[in-house]
């Protein structure tokens, strides 16, 4: 049997895991000296409380998982004679996948008849979430791992996500966005527009003055790059800025109609630690990223 894995950096929640039969890997973040595993150390993610804490000055950090931790997730499945399909967040944003690779190599040496498939969503949060849900739909419909991988090869590069954040100190500290101007633009309302490129890396591709213009530009990308937008989910990921989300929904529905399949998700705390509060991103189906 094929067991579907995903991780909390992809924003998948326990509710969907139950619905689709997905096993979840919890990606930790650290506050002070306390390591927190999402949905292990808490049942429900209180995004408002978490991002308020960041607004008040808390700066969480994130760290890669250990080889043993990966073995603990995967080995029981191999032991039970199951194969694994892991749809995960971008390997371009973390070195945790090098460690995972080592764990998987060891396990496959021990269980040579077992198969490990993985799909790199080349994204984080809403982008990964969108792809995980597409894959999960196929998984639920009984598609094989090979079929899902075949789909992903063509389709993963067709899910872009464009986003902007309020406070760049989070991004700057994590050093994971290239092309950012070395200014404190957030304090004067200058919002860099960032997207995830084909290698799953975050790149700043311009800037806008003020949230309204920045949001209009995100929606403009949906219009200009979009392909079969309405045949897929449009995901709006945000870090506790419901008013901006409402405005984004309004703008999107104005362009694409009220029947546009919009899903809103709270960005998980681990990724949220890198982008800070009041960030919003839109992931949609497109000609290219």
């Amino acid at each position: 049997m094929l067991v579907f894995f995903s991780d909390t950096d992809c924003d998948i929640t326990p509710k969907e895991c139950a619905e689709y039969g997905i096993k979840m890997i919890s990606m930790p973040y650290t506050i002070g000296d306390q390591v927190v595993y999402p949905y292990v150390d808490f049942e429900e993610f209180d995004d408002h409380k978490f991002y308020d804490m960041l607004r008040a000055g808390t700066m969480p950090t994130t760290s890669a998982m250990s080889e043993e931790a990966y073995c603990q997730y995967f080995e029981p499945e191999f032991q039970a004679g199951n194969d694994i399909l892991y749809v995960h967040f971008s390997s371009g944003t973390s070195n945790t996948f090098t460690i995972m690779g080592q764990a998987v190599d060891k396990l496959l040496a021990k269980y040579p008849e077992r198969k490990f498939y993985h799909i790199d969503t080349l994204g984080i949060t809403a982008l990964s979430y969108n792809i995980v849900l597409e894959c999960a739909d196929m998984y639920k419909a009984g598609k094989t791992a090979e079929e899902i991988l075949e789909w992903a090869k063509v389709e993963v590069p067709k899910f872009p996500m464009y986003f902007f954040a309020d406070d760049l100190k989070f991004f700057r500290r994590s050093g994971r966005v290239s092309g950012l101007a070395a200014t404190m633009g957030g304090l004067i309302g200058i919002r860099p527009i960032i997207y995830l490129n084909d290698e799953g890396k975050m790149v700043s591709i311009g800037k806008e003055k003020g949230r309204a213009k920045a949001l209009a530009r995100l929606v403009q990308y949906v219009e200009e790059l979009g392909e079969d937008v309405k045949a897929h989910r449009v995901l709006i990921g945000h870090t506790d800025c419901p008013e901006i989300v409402e405005e984004a929904k309004r703008l999107l529905k104005e362009k694409f109609g009220d029947d546009l399949n919009i899903m809103v998700n709270a960005v998980n705390p681990t990724i949220g630690s890198h982008c800070g509060p009041n960030a919003i991103g839109i992931c949609f189906h497109a000609k290219h990223r």
């Binding site: 101007a181 200014t183 404190m184 633009g185 304090l187 309302g189 200058i190 003055k209 003020g210």
Partner: protein, 546 residues
Amino acid sequence: MEKTGELDSLTFAAMLRQGAVALGKEKNTVNDLNVFPIPDGDTGDNMHMTLKAGCAALKDNLGTLSEISSAASSGMLLGARGNSGVILSRIFAGLAKGLQGVIVADTQAFAKAMSSAVTEAYKAVPVPVEGTIITVLREGAAGADASADLNLYFETLLSAMQISLDHTPELLPVLKDAGVVDSGGAGLLCIFQGMNDALCGRISEEELAPVSTPSAPVVELDKFDENSTLEFGYCTEFLLRLMRSKIDLETFDEQVIIDYLNQVGESVVAFREGSIVKVHVHTFTPGVILNEMQQYGEFLTIKIENMSLQHHQSVNQNNASFKKPQQQYGIVAVASGEGLINAFRELGTDEVIAGGQTMNPSTQDFLDAFARINAQHILVFPNNSNIKMAADQAAGLYDKADIRVMPSTTIGEGYYGVGSVDRSLNDIEAVVESVNEIMQSVSTGMVSTAIRDAEGEGVTVHAGNFVGYCGKRILSASENRLEAAKALCERLDAASRDVLLVFFGQDVPEEEAEKLVADLTATYKNLEIMLNNGTQPVYDYIFVLC
């Protein structure tokens, strides 16, 4: 000194001092000659402080007329504040240039020096405007009678200056509209009247108040009260004269002192020149150090300051003793109000000079700020048109970095300018260009209280009204501050803008500012509004629209 065929250095020094005394008495009258109904650029204060800095540089009056006049000129050059102060410093620089090599001056030599002062004054302003201080100087010098003795020269000089001053409203419509004469010209006349008094032997009894050094640290005693804990220790500085009776001067190695200081203190800077050791150290127990030092010598000077009390600025000064690695870009900005100063720091400003409308920083203040920054290029944001000349003057005097004075005339332009200095760019010209570009897209509006009646653009202002204005354009007026603020936003076409930064001043309750933001948010749906507590004086609100 009734008889004055010739002018010597002692007389000239007395004249300068009496000029400062005379202006000191009249400076508020000069301040009030303001074309704008909001307190700004205090001309009287600026000229007075500039001239006092010149007098302070005279020390003990020793030297020839040439030496005394150039000493006064250098003092004024560094002490120059505000545009009127800078021009005044250039007038006296011209005078000193004209008196170069002169031991005592006769009337003709002094008249010649006055022409040199006129030339220099006109060179000080990029676009000379008639009806200002330079006109009063020029017409005064032209109308003075140089054919007789100095007394007559000054008499005729003063009456020509007075006529010229009275005529300034005819040359400058803004003066006429406001019903005033030019404040800089009035200040200059006042100075020359004082100089004439001294020339005629009328030296005022009162002592000149000692000149405070331009960047004297501001001590706030409340910052260390009965319940405080000594968190930072004492900044301790002294000059120690090594004594032959205590040590062998020839073989003594001052390293023992430095090693000791490093054990018991921090931020140690110590060096020896001859038999004097100069020490700077931060310590919790200055007494222990002083006792220890006395085994080597005796103190020449001692200065001990509780660092909890020191103004931020002087803390920075002390930290300057740590050799910072050179950075490519340094930023200096002028702002007043703790909140605004912090906002500028947070934005990446290396040195914030406290100052603004009511207190224009001097050339020396800028030079001090430059010296505290170790950078290849320093971008300066004066944030006020009356401060730019002092910054320019400092830029011309400083040679350890490439100084770029940015044309920011408002807090808003400066704030956006600083916020867009991209330190990742390698090309200074590209940095300057992007800063200029964003500054041009910013408009700054201010809400303050009118000190007298005035006519604005479609609004009538009564003294005591809250007025909203942009540059010299008065755009709103109301007895209600919120109404004046909201009307100003409308006049500034906030609806067509993307971002509004609101800095509320020290006299505004936070609840009122929050109410204002809530109202503006409801009115301007697409405007991102960011509220900051600027705690600035004079302006109840500063609006920055981009």
